[in-house]
């Protein structure tokens, strides 16, 4: 493996930003939709949210596969051991939540009796039966994990900005699309 690599590959960068945009959109739609009164619009928005969630899940799996087969650029040598630990822990939590959140949404859909049919064409199996109490519990789990993810994403973005503006290193730049030289 090449330890001199200072940038993420184009694949990793594309997946990172695609997932980032999707997650922001899904989070906003999730906040908006859950208090809507029953209407065709609500059914549409819920379906779009679910389809977007399945898409994000697939992209996260691709991103995790990339991560397992590539060594990311090294962290700046100047970082303290504690900060390195925080960086690794934060990234592990991001991956774990990005896997757990769509699964909790999938299970919640089954428990609430409205299974996920991807783009209205591909039915996802029901891993749990319809169960009102379980549905409420999974709703709480889905919501809580999302707020946790939002908290870590803010930390993630804040850390990237701190690297760029205060440490003045290349940690933020190496996840941005390469500029024409």
């Amino acid at each position: 493996m090449n330890t001199n690599e200072t940038r993420y590959t184009a694949t990793a960068i594309a997946l990172h930003w695609l997932i980032a945009i999707l997650l922001l959109g899904l989070f906003a739609v999730g906040l908006y939709m859950h208090d809507l009164p029953l209407s065709p619009w609500k059914l549409k928005v819920y379906s779009w949210h679910k389809w977007g969630g399945v898409t994000a899940f697939l992209l996260v799996l691709a991103r995790a596969a990339w991560r397992f087969t590539h060594r990311p650029p090294d962290l700046p040598a100047a970082m303290s051991r504690l900060l390195r630990l925080a960086a690794h822990g934060g990234h592990a939590a991001l991956y774990a939540l990005m896997i757990a959140i769509p699964i909790s949404g999938w299970l919640m859909s089954s428990a609430k009796g409205v299974p996920v049919v991807y783009f209205g064409l591909l039915p996802l199996p029901d891993l749990v039966d319809k169960d009102k109490e379980l549905g409420k519990l999974l709703e709480l789990v889905h919501e809580t994990l999302n707020y946790l993810l939002a908290f870590i994403v803010v930390g993630h973005a804040g850390a990237a900005l701190k690297h760029h503006l205060i440490d003045k290193d290349d940690v933020l730049l190496r996840m941005l699309p390469a500029r024409a030289r």
């Binding site: 029953l38 065709p40 549409k44 409205v114 209205g120």
Partner: protein, 187 residues
Amino acid sequence: MKLKLITAVIVVLAAAPWAQAVEFNAIQNDKSTLAFVFKQMGVPMEGKFGRFAAQIAFDPAKPAAAKAAMDLDLASIDAGSAEANEEVAGKNWFNTKAFPQAKFVASAVKGLGGNRYEIAGKLTIKGRTQEVSAPFTFTPQGAAAVIDGSFVLKRADFALGEGAWADFGTVANEIQIKFHFLANVKK
């Protein structure tokens, strides 16, 4: 010997009342279900009705002489959630305040061979009456018999889902009705 055989035949016939010309004339509500399947955003959703009263007179050997009718209490719907039940009771769907019941009256039953039959009749929902027909099977089960069948109705024919719901892109026009009745003989 001959007497024994005759006795055996009589015993078998007595234990199997459907083998004779027997008219099934009652539906056991607690062992019967009336369900429906609709598609919302491509997702098949199942619901059911809790209260219905069916009157039948059906001799599988003489289907042409059969009679059947059913009253269905629309407020007994379970469409999947409290929110959905409230919505379908409203004006855009069943409008149960003005039309609390749906009604079916059979006009003809014919045999399709074996244990298969077809029932045709008039279905009235929300003040609109349409001709419908449904194939069904009639399967003896002890002294009773199971009637199983289904048909597809188009919700627009009965003005189910008006206003914002009229677009079939969200809730499809076709709704499958599935009936499973346990019939027996009431003396």
